[in-house]
Amino acid sequence: MVLAAYLVAIVTFGVWAGRGNRRMDDFFLAGRQMRWWAVGLSVMATQISAITFVSTTGQAFTDGMRFLVFYFGLPFAMVVLCLTVVPFFYRAGVTTAYQYLERRFDSGTRTLTALLFLMSRGLAVGVTLYAPSLVLSTLLGWSEAATILLMGGTTIAYVFHGGNKSVIWTDVVQMALIWFGVLLCLGMAWSGLPAGLGLRDALAVAQAAGRLDIVNPSPSLTAPYTLWGGLLGGFFLMLSYFGCDQSQVQRYLSSRSLAESRLSLLFNAFLKVPMQFLILFTGVLVFVFYHFEKPPLLWNRVELAKLETRAAGPELEAVRARFERAHAAREQAARAYVGNRTGEARTAYVATGLELDAARQDARSLIERVNGGKRYNDTNYIFLTYVLGHLPKGLVGLVVAVIFAAAMSTLSGEFNSLATATMIDFVKRFAPATGSEARDLLLSRLFTAFWGGFACLVALQAGRLGSAIEVVNRLGSLFYGSILGVFALAILTPKATARGAFWGLLAGMTAVGLVSWLTPIHFLWYNLVGAATVFAVGLGISVLGQDGRV
């Protein structure tokens, strides 16, 4: 009921908010009349996808809050973008980021970067749609295809009609709903702690279990989410995402002035880290909650049912008995540690936690064997299992609506930006005289529907692709840093030439490909490698070329 009401309301509101588009510029840039706070919320909503919401809480549960450092570079990236890219784009009067590259270099560099964007973003948007649909359909017992089509179809409906105006205004509503959902879940997780266990006690338990370890100052390039990886790698990733990805650039180019474009990004610089902190903290409270409430053996209920029907009885019983013993021992040890915070009590508690992890690993190994060796990971199912099992029915509907809102706010921006790049960087570029404003507007709408349909198609096939999802995500991270390098060449170096930019871009992608293939370096660093290689090679070729040596 709550979800149905949300879907009807958001489509109606989206269609209403997007009325009055007469030209392509209205459709793609909302007539460049949006206020900074609306654009700022839209920028934030586009970045937060449903899987961020569901997966981040699960990650905090299993691994702690260290994922937060991923966002540490964001505020500094926003400042750099406000000083460099934003005024350049704004003053150039471009609709897509890639148009600027043709003005600065040549059509080849523009076409190549726009093509990279369409390829990587077009496939990634399918995954953005598939991942939450999979989790929701598994936990709610819905058909996967129906969930994909419901989420994708309703988003297409309002973006097709209202373009960027609909995207931004629905993002504002969806972002408000997401904030409400985050605070609600945090409040529910807090109030769900057993009587007599205060917040400070819960934090002590989480800290002893290592769930509050956030800042790791290790200089290792292979360790995940170190402070330096977050600050430097995250800085370059955010520079690339917010500065060169059309799904974000298009949002802030819709502002009514350059000052408002800048404010919309700075708004994110202030709010992003606190918001991610609250989402992760919710996962930590759910982790503490399940010390005093029995968790399922596996979080994915479909896989659990499979385990119960297919695994050998005695073996499953042994795994279950070990798990239940370990959980009871951890509960007792946690209570003892809360009552008396001594070193011994802490050590005993940590040992019971390790035993529970080992017992859960037994269950994981068992389901992997049942599935013929297929890797099992149920991190994304933890939070929704908690919501379904422990929240009142009306609130469950609300949380599911929040997850839909998070997914739709990302999809809408991406459908719109993919249609924009297709129309501006390819159709208008190679067939500029397509016809009247009305025909351009119709074509823009049709491309929105095309990319929405394409995303649904990719999502419907994603289950069969299996590990291809990982490949798609990896491919995306291969491009980001290199694209940033091209923009850095364009903006920071007057000496850079078209030839330097083109070959620099190819060199950057090759370098990142080799690093990801041959070394265990964590993916956050790829962005730095790509950007630095493109910049160095591009500048080198440009300077040598001007001297007549290349």
Partner: protein
């Protein structure tokens, strides 16, 4: 479209001051995160 960005500074008086405020608040948030993480509960 208003291109005169230097004229319109909504808070803190100038853009460099706003950027400074963002950087300082980011460092402050990081310091609070470290405090939160290591506080002896």
């Amino acid at each position: 479209m208003d291109l005169d960005d230097e004229e319109r500074v909504p808070v803190f008086g100038s853009w460099p001051r706003i950027y400074g405020a963002v950087a300082i608040s980011a460092l402050l948030v990081m310091a609070l995160v470290v405090l939160f993480s290591r506080f002896p509960y």
